[in-house]
Symmetry: C3
Subunit: 341 residues, 3 copies
Amino acid sequence: MSKRDLLALEDWPPEQIEALLQLTARIKRGEITGGLEKKVLALIFLTPSPSTRSSFQTAMFLHGGHTLVLERGQEGWTPETELGAVMDGEAGEHLIDAVRVLDRYADALGIRSGPPRTEWAAARQDAVMNYVAQQCEKPVINLESARRHPCQALADALTLQEKLGQVVGKRFVVTWAWHPRALPTAVPVSAALAAARLGMEIVIARPEGYELDPEDTALIRRTAQQAGGEFVHINDDPDDALVGADAVYVGSWGAVKLYGKPAEEAEVRAGLRDWKLTRSRLRSTRGGKGVVLHCLPVRRNVEIDDQVLDGPNSAVVDQAENRLHVQRAVLLELIGETRER
Amino acid sequence: MSKRDLLALEDWPPEQIEALLQLTARIKRGEITGGLEKKVLALIFLTPSPSTRSSFQTAMFLHGGHTLVLERGQEGWTPETELGAVMDGEAGEHLIDAVRVLDRYADALGIRSGPPRTEWAAARQDAVMNYVAQQCEKPVINLESARRHPCQALADALTLQEKLGQVVGKRFVVTWAWHPRALPTAVPVSAALAAARLGMEIVIARPEGYELDPEDTALIRRTAQQAGGEFVHINDDPDDALVGADAVYVGSWGAVKLYGKPAEEAEVRAGLRDWKLTRSRLRSTRGGKGVVLHCLPVRRNVEIDDQVLDGPNSAVVDQAENRLHVQRAVLLELIGETRER
Amino acid sequence: MSKRDLLALEDWPPEQIEALLQLTARIKRGEITGGLEKKVLALIFLTPSPSTRSSFQTAMFLHGGHTLVLERGQEGWTPETELGAVMDGEAGEHLIDAVRVLDRYADALGIRSGPPRTEWAAARQDAVMNYVAQQCEKPVINLESARRHPCQALADALTLQEKLGQVVGKRFVVTWAWHPRALPTAVPVSAALAAARLGMEIVIARPEGYELDPEDTALIRRTAQQAGGEFVHINDDPDDALVGADAVYVGSWGAVKLYGKPAEEAEVRAGLRDWKLTRSRLRSTRGGKGVVLHCLPVRRNVEIDDQVLDGPNSAVVDQAENRLHVQRAVLLELIGETRER
């Protein structure tokens, strides 16, 4: 089958990712125009994300295309997602039927499947994302599943390249932050995978109990090794972890072992509010110039202090802007007819 | 007045419907492009319908136009619909004012008026749909009223033609299905009218108490006779009704006599869960090959079993795709400047 | 800095406003086409306004551009607006971050900041509007703040010119109306400022206790004098106020002194339901032909009677249509490349 999906960065060969980032750079410089005329992208949000929606709508429009949006909880749409369900309850439509119809109207589909409220052993299967991709005849883009967020990872990679220039061997620290809610691990894992693939040294700093999924950690390690980088270490000290960092990626995620048990998880998390990126902590980055990254939205003065977000180290807005440009590249790559300007 | 509305298929002469279906076929083959540049369609949803919205948005976009959407319950919009009301309650705007303004911004208006919560004698007047059409200077398209759903009916007709080829004299069975809610009769009546106009034999199968509005039944009969078809019969046996069917249209609707009394209606409906399209029932269609139609969204394993929906008889996704194409034709016909490619 | 915002009409020199109205007239006659190709407008609604959204979407589309919409309460977006907040509560994103990101995706931003629930002394600062304008590198358009509504005022001015021809010296009456909710004063103040700038005589009719902000009243007076008009008087009699009116602008607003105290305000307002525009009151306008204006949405038979709204004096739909045309001019002026057709 000739269809290509973008479900996880690691599904694409490194040279395709590299080519995509180079295409993005050209798009951002204004060298590529059009290419999506009469093309329709359908976005399905099982969990909302206004910035994902906005950046894709802009991407499609700038190249001549259009975006359809379908969101759980809007327009009375509360789809059933379990295959085989007897639908005599609240759900008026099965996701699979909505997807099959949009597959006819659109040239590509994006879906944000969000984290299911089950145990991690089940959630990590990304079952919904996978059956959607399998059902569609058109390319499917993962807009964030329980496990992966490839569009964010591409924006992260581009931002690292832009801010650090030569990235190989530089130190990339993913550092956990306290957050009022237990979030999924898709963003930190995808970011670490992207940085690993760029050949960076990877540090993952998190409190005890907040280990990432062991298979994901192993994949990060393997990816770093293959790219010639080094998987430095796991660190449970929010101060020590930042020493010598070239880039600091602040993220928050819930304890994987307590996935789907929010009350218990919140109890464990309660004592960890000190995990926050402050101006004083930032001083221990390399020359005090560590680039600060975050996928946004960010809890100000909870995950990262105002002085950091509004200061010279912050690249979070550039990173968000890059979501737009990498997605333009992804769309042109998957369904576009690229033209030189 | 030169303005044309699409409120019900029977308002248009048969030859215009036939021409519209032929135009649709050409559009679907890619022979017609553009025609809606700088055109704006405004859609008003008093009851939501994501697929109606998506299909119209796609239709407008593919021909160069744009769609505005206004939905009850969104943006704090809970319009008054009663003419003459003293608006000192919750409703912040009268529908008539929203309509008059959109009539200025748009080139055509679609409205889904939905079923009012009154008795059927009142609901069947389609009062809101009618005053909207009367107020607008621009063409008005019925996106489903209490009584009619012409865009769905056009998609149904096209799908029948595509799947059955020569349709005259073939057997079209509308069969009732249990559903957790009491739905309006607009879809089954409109589908039966469309099939009748194509010259098909019509069977309506429903449990006792679920008779359609007598005037609608009479119109279906008259339409079938005029088109040279035959109004075979009404049937209250879900097995027997399917014998020899070339097409099976599964629909659900509330008891007309208990319209606006959901609690009483639910009691009557409670014992009717056996009305469901199963694989074994499908075997009694002509050669076991009866085409399965449904307007979607469908309650899986309640109205129709998974094996049927996912099996070779199902045309429900084609039918949904055809909504897009017939609506392209309707829009080009009402407000477009068609061009040969 | 070369960036221009539209936060209040009085920020722009009179000759620029005059030029904008002339541009609008040409746009409305169809003499200006395109100019917003590849341009993106981002609209942020902290309070909803479907007509603002629709008119801007149409404006952008008609000239080749696209509109992004972000609305409080949609997509789980309940932004923090207080600068410096420690975001450990419900708000998942700070407005400032949403704005900074949209500033990258869009070529201009519109924001409806709505009235904050504080005392008037604080609300009148329009703090949110001002920090948004200051943060953005792109032009910012005020879609209604606590104090001003410049796009509505431009539409008001155009409608007055269209309906009255030569407007200088003609009498413009803003008359208060009872409404079930306490609304902000942005619309009546902006309308009076616009009419004052056109050189009209201004009458403000309201019950005792419903005085506008004294600084705003002073600015209306000063604007009228500078334009050669006359600030006739404040009137507390809903009948007397209309005598000789060429235009009657019906508006409702809460008592400024009780701003942010809805319960107390409602008590004061309770006895004022007689403040309503009726057909008999309309007879006392000049020759009975006073033009009736309202920003919409209107509470029918509460603010204005049906016979007035549906009668020959009413210009409210023209006024709403003019929102579209003035906004086309504003957008072309701020971010467009205008071309003769």
